[in-house]
């Protein structure tokens, strides 16, 4: 049904290495990672991911040294019932974006270890890393 169009690693690496190129193939913007609530061991991540290539990019996993586990989830409210499900992948369409926001798709980051001022996220397509980003918690948070 669904055709996985993961870009070959070499191509992505080459694209990522192309400094001076006007647009990175994959861009994360408006990133926000919530701090775990008191007594809780999980955070949520929200952002916009934009694919500047002509091929669909399938983000199949996210890793973070600050969390034991990171999953891609989607909350839906249908007929007044809120449901949360894990997604197998985040399909970012060619030259398009996917929004991760409250009440919708989001990252669920579980069991933090030594969470200080910032969080690093590494996005994977299959086994291949496609992007790394850092998030610094606001000072007054």
């Amino acid at each position: 049904m669904r055709i996985a169009v993961a870009l070959p690693v070499a191509v992505l690496v080459a694209l990522l290495a192309g400094c001076g190129a006007p647009k990175a193939p994959l861009v994360i913007s408006e990133l926000e990672v919530t701090k775990p609530m008191p007594g809780r061991s999980m955070s949520a991540g929200f952002f916009i991911v934009t694919n500047n290539t002509d091929e669909t990019i399938r983000i199949t996993g996210v890793e973070s040294p600050q969390f034991a586990s990171v999953e891609i989830h989607e909350t839906t409210v249908t007929d007044g019932v809120s449901r949360m499900r894990e997604l197998e992948a985040l399909e970012v369409p060619a030259n398009g974006s996917v929004v991760l926001e409250r009440g919708g798709k989001h990252l669920m980051l579980m069991r933090p270890n030594n969470l200080q001022g910032s969080v690093s996220l590494q996005f994977l397509s299959g086994e291949a890393p496609v992007l790394s980003v850092d998030y610094a918690f606001p000072k007054d948070n």
């Binding site: 008191p38 409210v77 007044g80």
Partner: protein
């Protein structure tokens, strides 16, 4: 109709609409814009649960104040904190407008297996003082939710632990312990700030 008459008609029509708008505005608040009010309050069913201090409470805990009741769980990182934050912000906004009688925020755990009174207490205290958390046995939680028409169901599909599907509504319980009205969501601060004084009236 001649062009002149048409212009007069448009001017008169616009004036009438504007006048009606001003009249409606000046009478506000008249009706809730988001909440659905039940034809008659429905008494909260009997149950026996624990509050966040581990003290046994029954349906009488809903008497004596207005309550905003949400059904959720502390392992929910997304919609539960977002909804509770909306309720807390609405309370703050009403207090800043000078309203003295403010509704209490109540979180009933639909995941009593993991939500101990202590965990629930830490969670709800984050959203302000005076909030109430209820947890206990699954059977007693069911007595409360079934009686109020609230749905919840544990799902084992989550890769790490599990999730719980649950009604997203916020129920308004009156000071007599009656299910008075509900906000079905999406939950918006301004809607609560507008509707709560209407619902609560002088009480």
């Amino acid at each position: 109709m001649s062009p002149k008459n048409l212009i007069i008609a448009i001017v008169l029509g616009t004036a009438l609409a504007a006048g009606t708008f001003v009249a409606i505005r000046s009478q506000a608040p008249v009706a809730p814009i988001s909440a659905l009010v039940l034809p008659a309050p429905n008494p909260v069913p009997e149950f026996s649960l624990l509050n966040q201090r581990g003290e046994a409470v029954d349906h009488a805990v809903f008497k004596g104040q207005w309550d905003l009741v949400f059904f959720g769980f502390t392992h929910c990182p997304d919609i539960c904190p977002t909804t509770l934050q909306v309720l807390a912000s609405a309370r703050t906004a009403l207090a800043e407008k000078g309203r003295e009688s403010l509704p209490r925020i109540v979180l009933v755990s639909v995941d009593p297996e993991r939500d101990t009174p202590e965990i629930l207490g830490q969670y709800i205290d984050y959203f302000g003082e005076g909030n109430l958390g209820l947890t206990g046995t699954l059977a007693e939680v069911r007595k409360l939710t079934d009686g109020l028409g609230i749905f919840f169901e544990k799902q084992d599909v989550d890769g790490d632990g599990y999730s719980v599907d649950h009604s997203a509504a916020v129920l308004v319980i009156d000071p007599d312990g009656g299910f008075h009205s509900l906000f079905s969501g999406p939950h918006v601060v301004d809607n609560y700030v507008h509707d709560l004084p209407v619902l609560m009236g002088g009480r």
